[in-house]
Symmetry: C2
Subunit: 349 residues, 2 copies
């Protein structure tokens, strides 16, 4: 499947409208679920979602792009289900996603998210860990209390996905302990699939389950989300090196100065190109100055890491589209899902 730039622009616009509609449908339920949390935890959660400031006064921050809830609802609709009945699943997936953000920020010691200090930076590590825990339990409770026949398989699927996500996050941390030439590209791809692909796949699979789809379609939907997720991660890794700080809310080359073994970096390190050794040497040092960070970014580029990531992202997107065509043979019905997948892989922040 090829797309002209006019198609892409149209789909980008469609996806933005879809995400806006998703927010309008999902946000009230998400917010009332979060508001049901007990006192001290609710406060941290309300801050994390951008609905309150640190002092508890109302805020009008944005609570993220709602890509995962949009995938749940679009997958349900594409398979002939009623998206209204899948709203609870959409809320559960968004809660699970935000559980991972709360814990990942603690683990990665990230101090900024969505242009604000992260929850742990404001409330401390204990409150951020505890609030993440409660958010995961809340996600499971919402599904388990649903009278929908897909509820129990949805809990099982979300739980398996969380275990996979944890394995991905654990591998990511373990990679940082290893030397610059001790992580293979395959390991790195497996890690990214677990860390990012699994939850996007789960979102699509939950939508399929809630539409009453048969197992084959649920699995194909999972494959679509996973591959789109990996494409998304590749783009995210590129943004982590070459993104505009005004748009990302993070400093230039943040992933490089943190010595992250992201996909373009590992592709460069394992390329065998002369710039690979240069990059490895920089990765063995502190990389605190902007000169060092710029030299590392340049080395990733010269060693082919940037091009590889762009080609790989396109390849994964093609695989995603193939899975989608198996899950939803009618291209008309698959339009929203395709628009969402294209949207996330074309974003610049």
């Amino acid at each position: 499947m090829t797309m002209t730039s006019t198609d892409a622009a149209t789909e980008g616009h469609e996806a933005a409208a879809l995400l806006e509609r998703t927010r309008a449908v999902v946000d009230p339920h998400l917010r009332s679920a979060v508001e049901s949390l007990p006192g001290g935890i609710r406060r941290v959660a309300m801050y994390h979602f951008g609905w309150e400031n640190a002092d508890g006064t109302p805020a009008t921050g944005q609570a993220g792009k709602a890509i995962r809830p949009a995938l749940v609802l679009a997958a349900a609709r594409a398979l002939g289900g009623d998206p209204e009945r899948a709203v609870r699943a959409a809320v559960a997936v968004e809660l699970a996603h935000n559980f991972t953000l709360l814990h990942d920020d603690v683990i990665d010691e990230d101090t900024t998210r969505r242009h604000r200090p992260t929850a742990w930076a404001v409330f401390g590590i204990p409150d951020a860990v505890i609030t993440g825990d409660a958010m995961l339990a809340l996600a499971q409770r919402l599904l388990a209390e649903d009278a929908h026949p897909a509820a129990a398989p949805a809990v099982a699927r979300l739980s398996s996905c969380i275990i996979e996500l944890c394995a991905g996050q654990q591998a990511d941390c373990a990679f940082e302990e290893r030397g610059p030439d001790e992580v293979t590209l395959d390991e790195c791809l497996a890690m990214a699939t677990a860390k990012t692909g699994a939850l996007l796949g789960c979102a699509c699979a939950l939508g399929a389950l809630y539409a009453g789809a048969e197992d084959r379609a649920v699995r194909a939907m999972d494959g679509f989300g996973r591959e789109a997720g990996l494409s998304f991660q590749l783009i995210d890794d590129l943004i982590g090196i070459w993104g505009d700080p005004d748009r990302t809310g993070k400093p230039v080359g943040a992933d490089l100065s943190a010595h992250k073994k992201s996909l373009p970096v590992v592709a460069a390190l394992t390329s065998g190109a002369p710039a690979a050794a240069e990059l490895a040497a920089l990765y063995r040092g502190p990389m605190t100055t902007s000169g060092e960070v710029n030299r590392a970014a340049d080395a990733v580029d010269r060693a082919g890491g940037r091009d590889w990531a762009q080609v790989c992202a396109a390849d994964r997107m093609a695989r995603a589209v193939h899975h989608l065509s198996r899950a939803v043979p009618d291209p008309g019905a698959a339009g929203d899902l395709l628009a969402l997948a294209e949207f996330v892989t074309r974003r610049t922040s």
Copy 2:
């Protein structure tokens, strides 16, 4: 209901035998569930349960007393259910309990558990947080994948319990930030009920659900476990001050030097006795020497905190027995549950 010392000795023996039988039934399932976790996470989990050393070699440590799984199975049996069919629920509750231990040790910065270094002290905070997360998801998955009709309500109940536990842990942390006379005894009791009572109540309620008991009996079982849990916490708090380090595996007066606002301490601080002011003054200082810790323990005693905790533990136990008699009117059928409750409140380590 009163018990003679001969009854108590018999029941203590019965309870120990019951816990041993529970371990024999539950451990193989618990272990195979933990072994199903992905690589890096499995290693931390196997260490935490005492089945492996830090280097991955087999260990023969003890994995805890299995009180919660024993409560699940005993509650199922007491209400006419088949305990064999409730093993999965027993495993899920034990996994959920160990999820809380992994995270609590990070949050409380505890370096020793069951006479060994805690998981975070060996593997670092990220691995301990991630492994706890995966363990909670594993507990939910085990329940959700169960074909038993109680599976969905069990997931919902366990999830609600985890949220309550998190609220209790959050309150506990918040109390430590407050001054010695800024926490009321009611707040402290509510915190302990959430932090300890909720999961013991949930264990009993899950056993009742798996026996197909009606809602009234499920709620009475929850009440039994909660009150027994609060009694257990009071005893645990006494051990945290006056326990024998050889048996507890923790230094003398560990809770005092950590400035914990445990129940006997808050009872002493809010007693109005002359020793309360002395204790408050010690709590405002560092309490690093054994002399200071001993003076604080003595002040808790003189202000009546020790006696109060003992009387309160007995009172909560009486309430537990009352709930139990409503859930299981036949005293013969309630014997195992009663023996377990008496056992946990008479323990010395």
